[in-house]
């Protein structure tokens, strides 16, 4: 008896590191000897407690048997649940290699599932997008792509384009017909511009899904010596930025990624802003601060003076934090959050706040990079300036090319449909 499928592979199915149990999955033409050794019948769908002997030591493992084709990959599969120690896992790997199995390539289990018709390509794409989605809006975007909200919008653009194309094609194929009145190229260009506006809107509202590019950037700003670097260090729970009593210690931008239970935020500490300095280095540090603040997703404005008015260029995007509350508490009228970097008071609340800000929707929905590229390409083609004497046929070609790009997202262009519309709109025939 031997397992069914492609060459046998294995991979760790649980997250690496210390844990209660570790899971190693096996798939493919698993060797006869393996089943024998584990005293498992290949066809018996069940779980078994087995003492696996690795030579120097043995571990008591739970072995689950998934006979083909009723498994995730559609092949013969086994799962070995051992104690969650990376050393034991390493031993299992070696043990499996000795028995002719190899470690799987990334995504190889899903690929086999796909090859055996267990999942479709779209599902596979969806699965990987779903796994990789880092923020809530990425998941929402995935949903909007699947639910067809985007397809309706693209269809709308396409139907408008087709409207212009019908007009153009009538001009090209039926210019000798009485019912087709000469249209000026300017009128065509105008209708096309309207479509371009819609397409530009679509591009603005739907960003490409790229891993990492969506990590939110939080920038700490405020006057010098209010304790930005101390808060920075507290947030990260390590001493990354140099802290001193002296105003203007931070000159450069200090960046660090802050993991927030599944989400990541990039936090940046900056030089404090004050008008009254002659130090050239500090000045250029301040320029960097302003730049960082401009491109940040949001700001934490740190102050130690409850009366301070947040500069208006920061006001809209700032979350106000009052530091050093251990020295003198903020008055009850203070609208921001009171913290103490020194005692850690309020830092937990700030972390929660960051998490909610990081996972909130940016307003821009996401689509796959492929879809975004197609939209961009369509836009580029349509923005091409068409010629003079050949304006009509060139523009018709551009619209067809753009439509083809959009079609590759959803649907198909049909010459017959264009003609159908012409016949419905014009009385053709001498």
């Amino acid at each position: 008896m031997v397992g069914k499928g492609l060459d046998p592979i294995f991979a760790q199915g649980s997250a690496p590191g210390q844990s209660a149990i570790a899971v190693v999955r096996l798939s493919g033409k698993l060797p006869d000897s393996l089943y024998d050794e584990l005293k498992i019948y290949e066809d018996e769908r069940s779980f078994f407690l087995r003492e696996i002997n690795f030579g120097d030591f043995a571990d008591s493992c739970l072995v689950l048997n998934f006979p083909a084709p009723g498994s995730y990959t559609g092949e013969s599969m086994l799962e070995i649940h051992s104690h969650g120690n990376q050393l034991i896992v390493a031993e299992i790997f070696r043990w499996l290699e000795e028995r002719g199995l190899r470690e799987a390539e990334p995504g190889e289990f899903s690929k086999r599932a796909f090859l055996n018709n267990k999942i479709s390509l779209v599902q596979a794409e969806g699965v990987s997008l779903g796994i990789e989605a880092e923020t809530k809006d990425q998941l929402v975007a995935l949903d909007s792509f699947r639910s067809g909200v985007l397809s309706k919008k693209i269809e709308n653009v396409m139907s408008q384009l087709n409207g212009v194309l019908v007009e153009l094609e009538a001009q090209l194929d039926f210019s000798d017909e009485e019912d087709v009145i000469d249209t000026k190229s300017g009128a065509i260009q105008d209708s096309l511009s309207c479509v371009l506006v819609e397409l530009a809107d679509l591009l603005k509202n739907y960003g490409p899904f790229e891993k990492n590019s969506l990590k939110k950037r939080v920038v700490l700003v405020g006057r010098p010596n209010v304790g930005k670097s101390s808060i920075f260090n507290s947030l990260l729970n390590e001493d990354v930025a140099i802290v001193s009593q002296e105003a203007g210690t931070t000159r450069d931008i200090v960046r660090k990624v802050l993991p927030l239970s599944g989400f990541e935020v990039e936090v940046e500490d900056t030089a404090g802003l004050r008008p009254e300095t002659n130090d050239a280095i500090e000045k250029s540090g301040m320029v960097l601060t302003v730049k960082a603040a401009e491109s940040a997703d949001f700001l934490i404005y740190v102050t130690d003076d409850p009366e301070e008015i947040v500069p208006k260029e920061f006001r809209d995007r700032s979350f106000l934090v009052f530091n050093k509350c251990d020295l003198n508490p903020a008055p009850s009228s203070f609208s921001g959050l009171s913290v103490s970097a020194k005692t850690g008071e309020g830092i937990g609340v700030l972390l929660e706040k960051l998490k909610s800000l990081a996972t909130s929707s940016s307003g821009q929905k996401l689509i796959s990079e492929r879809t975004h590229k197609k939209l961009e390409k369509a836009m580029k083609i349509l923005s091409k300036e068409a010629g003079g004497a050949d304006f009509f046929e060139m523009t018709a070609q551009n619209i067809r090319d753009a439509n083809q790009e959009l079609n590759e997202i959803y649907g198909e262009l049909d010459n017959e449909k264009i003609l159908d519309q012409i016949f419905n709109n014009f009385c053709i025939g001498k």
Partner: protein, 604 residues
């Protein structure tokens, strides 16, 4: 007595003539069978050759050494270029022909080429093991290695005027019958189509004084690439008039009497060539329709009022004709009529226009559901060439969508079938910008030479033109122009929108009459690249062998309908699959992925 030939062509219309001439050029022993010798090459409908999309076909026929364009040059009494302001790819030379002169020219050509023409009616084919070995005429049998059948409107033809229906393929001509039984045996789907003609008027009874004159172009233009070898006869004008409220009232009042509206006609007519009844009923908001008043010839007193085809009874035709300005006392020489005829669903055909289930019978023209002289001629060409290649035991020739309107035509027909008489439009061609009427010779030359269709004379004309274009190209490349602080060549300017063709031309020392063509070759060169990529993609598709898929039901992701179609057609490779009706690019992707799966499983 039986006669034995290489190739027998049945039907002496525009398809049959090109088919038999192609066979002759390829060195075959050919024969043409037609009901009436004197009507060979007849223009049974409007007296014009060419039109947007149609001219492209006529020029491709010419580029393969066909005769339609030359005959047009020799009999054309008015030439105009359509779409002058819309770009070179959609421009089309259209000619009014002297009908009589046209058919005489064709008949003279057949005589000159010493083609055996038989007057006979083919009523059956003798066939064994899916191979036809003889066409059975009423007079005798014609044995051949291959056959091209072009029935026009004669297959089960019926003429309809008012409530009157009688058999016939053209007015006062008998229909062809008997073949429907043969096709029935072959298990082919037949459909029914309809077309119509307007009443013909006597020239001397029309008041031309009140009509708007429409002269031809000042500049002399030609249909054939041989250009001024074939001198045009005397040139004349056409005229324009229009229907009015009274005309419309008369037609509305009598609409029930029209064969079209009395339920007498079951065939589907072309939407782009509606009868006047249709125009008035479907577009009731319009109170006038244009009529082009076209002379049928220099000597002939027949006038063709283009735009008012009808199947109303004669007395109503007379009444509405006389309600039209200029036609107040017009006499009808021949009444308008509708004609209904059988066609064979062209999805029964290979792209060579050979019937899939018969090894050596090719069909061309209206029998395949098309309309138009040029569409017929182009199919005659494809069928004639492939029938000849079959006789010569050579590889078939299939024109491609990417480089010809002929390719678009046979691809559309064999993939999608027809729902109305099929006419060529430029919008049917995805690669329109590179399929210009002026470069048809370049597009067809290689195939033409290879198959022996192009004689020395044509080859020389072609090479001379290429030389002239090359001279222009060299001029464009070596002419340098200061452009701000950059130096550009005139060649660079061709692609810019801020320079017109005239601007670019102005920068050159000397040019020849091929400058426009050279200019657009450069200007549209990007689309040529695109076309090349597409052809490569097709070759790729060809390499994907589908022989390993035994049952398409296994392929996940295909709709049930598509699975069924693929199981029925069993395409050899992805390219063939792409030709199966209803196969979308998405379905092709699914197939490609499935092949990868099979591959992965096999090689592991």
């Amino acid at each position: 007595m039986n006669s034995i030939f290489d190739l027998v062509v049945i039907g002496g219309g525009h398809a049959g003539v090109e088919a038999v001439l192609a066979g002759k050029r390829m060195g075959l022993n050919v024969a043409l069978i037609t009901l009436d010798k004197t009507k060979t090459g007849r223009m049974s409908c409007n007296p014009a050759i060419g039109g947007i999309g149609k001219t492209h076909l006529a020029k491709e026929i010419d580029a393969l050494g066909g005769y339609m364009a030359e005959a047009t040059d020799l009999s054309g009494i008015q030439f105009r270029t359509l779409n002058k302001k819309k770009g070179p790819a959609v421009q089309a030379t259209r000619a009014q022909a002297d009908k009589e002169l046209y058919e005489k020219t064709i008949q003279a050509k057949l005589k000159k080429e010493q083609i055996d023409v038989f007057e006979d009616e083919v009523i059956d084919f003798e066939e064994k093991n899916c191979e036809v070995f003889a066409a059975v005429g009423k007079n005798k049998k014609y044995k051949a290695k291959a056959f091209v059948l072009t029935t026009g409107t004669f297959l089960n033809g019926a003429i309809l005027i008012g409530s009157n229906k009688r058999e016939g393929g053209r007015i006062d001509e008998k229909k062809a019958s008997g073949l429907e039984k043969f096709f029935d045996k072959q298990n082919l789907m037949l459909g029914r189509l309809k077309t119509g003609t307007p009443p013909r008027l006597a020239r001397e009874t029309i008041n031309f004084e009140v009509l708007e004159e429409q002269p031809g172009d000042q500049e002399v233009c030609y249909m054939s690439f041989l250009e001024n070898k074939n001198h045009h006869p005397k040139q004349v004008s056409c005229y324009i008039t229009k229907t009015n409220k009274r005309t419309h009232d008369i037609i509305k009042k009598n609409i029930k009497k029209s064969a079209m509206y009395s339920g007498l006609i079951s065939g589907v007519g072309p939407r782009y060539c509606p009868s006047i009844e249709d125009k008035i009923m479907r577009f009731s908001s319009k109170d006038s329709h244009q009529i082009f008043v076209e002379p049928e010839g220099l000597e002939s007193n027949w006038v063709y009022p283009n735009g008012i085809s009808t199947s109303l009874p004669r007395e109503v035709q007379e009444e509405y004709i006389r309600s039209i300005e200029g036609f107040e006392s017009a006499e009808i020489l021949q009444q308008g009529y509708a004609v209904e005829y059988d066609y064979i669903d062209p999805r029964n055909l290979e792209k060579t226009l050979r019937l899939k289930n018969l090894k050596n019978l090719f069909l061309a023209g209206q029998i395949n559901g098309t309309t138009g002289y040029e569409e017929a001629g182009a199919q005659g060409m494809v069928a004639g060439i492939n029938a000849s290649l079959l006789v010569q035991k050579k590889a078939e020739w299939i024109p491609q969508r990417q480089n010809s309107y002929m390719g678009v035509l046979v691809d559309d027909l064999t993939r999608f079938g027809v729902s109305e008489p099929y006419r060529m439009f430029t919008s049917r061609a995805e690669h329109r910008l590179v399929l210009r009427q002026d470069n048809a010779d370049e597009r067809m030359f290689e195939a033409g030479i290879h198959m022996g269709l192009i004689n020395k004379e044509r080859e020389e004309v072609f090479l001379k033109k290429q030389k002239e274009k090359k001279q222009n190209l060299e001029q464009l490349r070596k002419t340098k122009i200061k452009f701000g602080d950059q130096i550009k060549t005139a060649h660079d300017l061709c692609k810019r929108n801020d320079f017109t063709m005239e601007d670019v031309k102005g920068t050159l020392e000397k040019t020849n009459k091929r400058f426009g063509e050279t200019y657009y070759d450069i200007r549209y060169s990007g689309y040529v690249d695109k076309q090349r990529r597409e052809l490569e993609k097709m070759r790729n598709l060809e390499e994907h062998d589908l022989g390993l898929i035994f049952d398409y039901a296994e392929v996940v992701g295909l709709s049930g309908e598509v699975k069924e179609k693929l199981n029925k057609t069993k395409p050899k490779n992805l390219l063939e699959a792409s030709g199966v009706e209803g196969i979308t690019p998405a379905a092709l992707n699914v197939l490609a992925i499935h092949l990868k799966k099979i591959d992965a499983i096999r090689t592991s």
